[in-house]
């Protein structure tokens, strides 16, 4: 038995407990949101963060990864390489090719890069850190994961609204700038 009182021991558990965060990736930039997600995975949102002595990372559940966005034409020119370790085994694929095959892999690779870009010792705990990332292409989460979620991460961008997202009444009653000209044929 430790010398801690019951209260202090519970406080210790609560301080170092791994929290589960939810992140909605609809219309979010892949690389900007990867920076934020990596910070939460490594526990940099906590004041007790220490990257040498202890691992205080969180779990992050990302939903709607198939709806992530990139700046215009970046889907086309963002390339990913893979080497099979045989001669001439290097292959290249664009972001849209990877995304159409697996809608979670683009975000996974972006987060993987951000987690590894930390100073020294974090690289040793990269794989356990990445194991705490849960990616889902749509809003369906298994109930055992959904039960753990306690908080939400703020999105990095405002979500764009398309014309379908507005109701017909809202579109019709919105103030109009110009009227149709005389004898205009409605199309």
């Amino acid at each position: 038995m430790s010398n801690l009182t019951k209260f202090r021991r519970t406080q210790q558990w609560l301080t170092f407990a791994r929290l589960w965060y939810l992140y909605d990736a609809t219309y979010q930039d892949v690389f900007d949101s990867a920076i934020v997600i990596a910070q939460y995975l490594r526990g940099m949102n906590k004041p007790i963060y220490d990257h040498v002595r202890q691992d205080v990372g969180n779990h992050v559940v990302v939903i709607n990864t198939s709806k992530v966005s990139m700046p215009v034409d970046e889907w086309k020119w963002r390339m990913y390489s893979h080497h099979s370790r045989y001669g001439g085994g290097q292959t290249w694929a664009a972001a849209h090719e990877l995304h159409s095959k697996d809608p979670t892999i683009v975000l996974y690779k972006a987060v993987y890069k951000e987690v590894g870009s930390a100073p020294r010792a974090v690289n040793l705990i990269r794989s356990p850190t990445m194991a705490r990332l849960h990616l889902f292409p749509d809003a369906c989460i298994p109930p055992e994961i959904k039960a753990n979620i306690c908080d939400q991460i703020r999105q990095v961008q405002p979500v764009l609204k398309s014309l379908k997202d507005y109701s017909e009444e809202e579109v019709e009653k919105f103030p109009k700038i110009v009227d149709y000209p005389e004898d205009y044929v409605v199309k």
Binding site: M44, N45, K46, P47, I48, Y49, D50
Partner: protein, 156 residues
């Protein structure tokens, strides 16, 4: 090779073979080699190589002593940053406005406050927020509502 300290030499039984203090240069070399026990290969056994390696370790540890200050400053900065983010305040405003309010706490104290006394830290954050509302430098500061419970000079 294990060398005994002088204290241990004194209390060892008499049958243990040990060096007497007659050969001074030999003892000096043994003393240096005892400092190199953690090194690898001939650096720990051969005197001429061990001496070079030992001086190198001194240089390295001197560098590390300088790096240590930067390292901890970064760590404290990161901790204050995350603690400020909990209260929706940016680190750069927090760290620049506090000395203007004559609160001259350094990063080490602020980070330990954030960990051990979160409510004290929150009161500091509210001070900074009230100051920012009062000055109204940028658009976000002007639109924000000042936190309740902070008495400024304008109220009196």
């Amino acid at each position: 090779m294990v060398q005994l300290t002088q204290v241990l030499c004194k209390y060892m039984p008499k049958w243990v073979p040990r060096f007497r203090g007659s050969n001074k240069s030999f003892m000096r070399k043994q003393h240096l080699l005892s400092l190199c026990g953690h090194l690898y290969g001939r650096k720990r056994n051969c005197f001429r190589i061990a001496r070079r390696a030992l001086y190198r370790t001194f240089e390295i540890s001197q560098d590390k002593r300088r790096e240590k200050k930067v390292f901890f400053r970064d760590l404290f900065t990161q901790r204050i940053n995350s603690a400020c983010a909990e209260h929706d305040l940016q680190y750069k405003y927090f760290i620049t406005i506090l000395p203007q309010l004559n609160v001259e706490l350094d990063r080490k104290i602020l980070s330990s406050l954030a960990i051990w006394e979160p409510r004290t830290f929150k009161s500091l954050v509210e001070l900074v927020k009230a100051k920012r509302c009062e000055e109204g430098i940028d658009e976000a500061a002007r639109n924000a509502t000042p936190p309740a419970g902070v008495i400024t000079r304008g109220m009196l």
